[in-house]
């Protein structure tokens, strides 16, 4: 059993209450710089989506279903990845109130399933890519399919090998007693 008095613990806690952020200006500078980088990512995503949408329209007018599928798929991938990137802060800010902890846990559990979902989508798109390459050879359109497949595969592997263990650890931390 502890023989440390309550008032001694309170004195220690009071010292913690007086702790100051050592380099506040530096931290603010780094935050601002990162925020600018995120804005550039958003701009690049918008440009990417605009190009992909334009390509989708062109291929649609030409009556080329594989070109249409490739470009619209690319546009969806860019939008989804940008959306996930920027939604993270909004999700962090949204969870508050009586059911916040359960909602947080539910979100983490939902995120755990994304690796499997991403792998299924990657498998389907890889099959389509193989079909297009077999039919058209290594044309620019096929390269687009291959590029999108590589991005999807990278995303799925990242979800399964990097994100999943971190999410499990985060859930474990929340359940620590």
């Amino acid at each position: 059993m502890s023989d440390l008095r309550e008032d001694v613990l309170d004195q220690e806690l009071a010292r913690l209450q007086n702790a100051e952020l050592p380099d506040a200006a530096g931290v603010l500078r780094r935050v601002t710089s990162q925020a600018s980088r995120h804005r550039r990512i958003a701009t690049a995503s918008l440009v990417g989506v605009a190009v992909a949408v334009f390509g989708t329209v062109v291929f649609t007018l030409r009556g080329d279903p594989f070109g249409y599928l490739a470009l619209s798929g690319t546009a969806v991938v860019i939008v989804l990845m940008a959306w996930r990137h920027f939604r993270s802060a909004e999700r962090l800010a949204r969870l508050q109130g009586p059911a916040a902890l359960e909602a947080w846990r539910a979100e983490l559990t939902g995120d755990l399933r994304q690796g499997t979902q991403a792998l299924i989508i990657t498998g389907l798109f890889a099959g389509l890519t193989a079909f297009v390459v077999a039919r058209h050879g290594l044309m620019p359109k096929s390269m687009l399919y291959i590029g999108t497949s590589v991005v999807l595969l990278w995303y799925a592997l990242h979800q399964l090998l990097v994100r999943r263990p971190l999410l499990k650890r985060e859930l474990d931390l929340l359940d620590e007693h």
Binding site: M1, S2, D3, L4, E6, V8, L9, E12, L13, R15, L16, Q17, N18, A19, E20, L21, P22, D23, A24, V27, L28, R30, V31, Q34, A35, H38, F86, S88, A89, E90, L92, A93, R94, L95, Q96, G97, P98, A99, A100, L101, E102, A103, W104, L166, L167, R169, E170, D172, L173, L174, E176, H177
Partner: protein, 160 residues
């Protein structure tokens, strides 16, 4: 009138002002959770990146400070999950002069994260039990029981 109200009453929130007003509290919160000054500085940076991105969506339903604390707890948990366990013995870098209660920080690192959160919000930030309950999303009674349990454990660790 509190700083919180002053900020919420304005139509546009000034990010630099939000940082200036709330970064000391977020740093102390992060320090209580991570137990190391350098880690706490990194967490503070990530918290404000998230806060500044989410700020346009802040509607003022809660106090700005408690809204930021809720974000800080989530960012810190994610950050601690990413970082391998470094053990309770880790101390600030040698040669760095510090006024920090090193023994207390090491003791805090031995607590379960849920207990650290309650200590950080109530004993360090000075929130009432109902305010801490709102931030944590648990009943106020649970805050009280976790707090007394955490304090008992801290006294044990500090006297060992």
């Amino acid at each position: 009138m509190s700083t919180d109200v002053l900020i919420v009453d304005r139509s546009g929130l000034d990010p630099a002002e939000v940082f200036r007003d709330h970064s000391p509290a977020v740093y102390r919160l992060a320090l209580s959770l991570a137990g190391h000054p350098a880690d706490a500085e990194d967490i503070t940076q990530e918290v404000f990146l998230a806060v500044l991105k989410a700020l346009p969506g802040f509607r003022g339903e809660a106090r700005l400070s408690t809204w930021i604390y809720a974000i800080a707890l989530r960012v810190a948990t994610r950050w601690l999950a990413r970082r391998p366990r470094t053990g309770p013995e880790r101390a600030p870098d040698p040669g760095v002069k510090t006024e920090l209660p090193i023994d207390l920080l090491n003791a805090l690192r031995r607590l379960p994260l849920n207990a650290r959160m309650v200590i950080a919000l109530v004993a360090v930030q000075g929130l009432r039990h109902d305010e801490a309950a709102q931030v944590l999303g648990i009943p106020a009674g649970t805050v009280g029981s976790r707090l007394s349990n955490a304090r008992r454990l801290l006294r044990e660790y500090l006297s060992a």
